[in-house]
Symmetry: C2
Subunit: 240 residues, 2 copies
């Protein structure tokens, strides 16, 4: 290869790496926005702040726009650069991750809409403790899953998969105690249902954070753990 | 180009077309299985058939395996063939569609698990009418969305987007009447909640069918309608 074409191909590969870095940066920006959406949605309920809840519903459009932009970028990179191996896995993981972030955005919107209704009906604070605990838990999962993606940190990613099981059991126990409230007081049925939808949405946020973590493992190890029993995970990932 | 290399490149392109057809065939097979899972899950409730419900839960593994296989195939096609333009869009649409089908499979599992609990507790048939109506509606949406994918039929795809709005309003009205039951009779709270989770799962099946339909439009028109207001759709798609 002569020097000119060598410099040329180095230039292309630098350019390509830059594009891949950009993809990650945009995904992280989307993650930051979505994280804030979940936090604002929960705070709007806890602080009875309807106008904050309405801003969350409005901002969902910005989240959707970011997904479309990231998808377009990924499609362009696939078409122009035709990446292989780990670069290809990165682009596919970004597409998947953006889709999960968009769905987390939808859940934030649902939380905010339920909050607006609960605030309007002056529904009291029954179930707020559960919402606070579970929302802190899933927001930590979201943050960690984004960090594990940014750093390609599979150890952190595997911790998140374990956390998700804890969230599921917190969620189940919260649902049981809320059901007891309903049975004791028929007037609480409607507001408690609103809280149940919010908890359900938070539980799904945890599921999506869990998906993000699984993509990191796929990305780094080339191993698809999406449908592996969590108890077998350490073993399987350790083998690689 | 000499004749030998011309024949060679024709051979490659035939081979490639064959691979793309295979992707579609496997996606349709997965769709068929998932459709059956939803139908069996609903029937297990309506016929109080716990063993059918348990089979649905067990079969979810087969659905997951199919997604992993399709994803692998897509990744291989992207790496080896480096498709561009509409071929690239097809592969990306298959990846997205397989992910939605896998999530429909999860919803079928949830329906079956709730059915098992309802059958065990001998919960009566309150809400069965609503489950039947909405499940028939979303199953038709699923079938149509798979057909529209197989035939690249955007007209059919756009109809599904409209149907999804109808399902949403059926779902809202079913939830309201179920809430009334709960308020009238505290003993009905636990079984009615089980029915509510089932309806919620069905409503999400409709959302995923809607996603599939949107990928068809993306595939054919190269137009991303995922976050477009349905009322503006005909206009936007007509413009192309």
């Amino acid at each position: 290869m002569d020097i000119t074409s060598d410099i040329h191909s180095q230039h292309i590969s630098r350019q390509f790496n830059h594009e891949l870095e950009e993809l990650k940066t945009h995904l992280m920006a989307m993650g930051g926005l979505v994280e804030k959406q979940v936090q604002d949605a929960v705070n709007s309920l806890l602080d009875a702040d309807s106008s904050l809840a309405e801003r969350v519903v409005d901002n969902d459009r910005a989240v959707n726009d970011m997904q479309i932009k990231i998808d377009d970028e990924c499609t362009r990179v696939l078409a122009r650069r035709q990446p292989a191996a780990s670069d290809l896995r990165l682009v596919l993981a970004v597409i998947r991750a953006a889709s999960d972030l968009e769905r987390i955005g939808d859940e934030a919107s649902k939380i905010a809409r339920n909050a607006i209704e609960l605030i309007e009906n002056d529904s009291g604070s029954r179930g707020f403790v559960e919402v606070r605990i579970i929302s802190e838990h899933v927001r930590r999962m979201m943050r960690d899953s984004l960090t594990s993606f940014a750093r390609f940190d599979t150890d952190l990613a595997l911790q998140i998969v374990e956390e998700d099981q804890k969230v599921d059991s917190e969620y189940q126990s919260a649902m049981r105690s809320l059901m007891t409230f309903m049975m004791e007081d028929a007037r609480s049925i409607s507001p408690v249902l609103g809280i149940m939808w919010i908890l359900r949405a938070l539980e799904r946020v945890g599921d999506h954070a869990n998906n993000l973590a699984e993509y990191v493992v796929y990305l780094v190890k080339g191993l698809d753990i999406r449908h592996t029993n969590p108890d077998d995970l350490d073993e399987e990932v350790g083998d690689r």
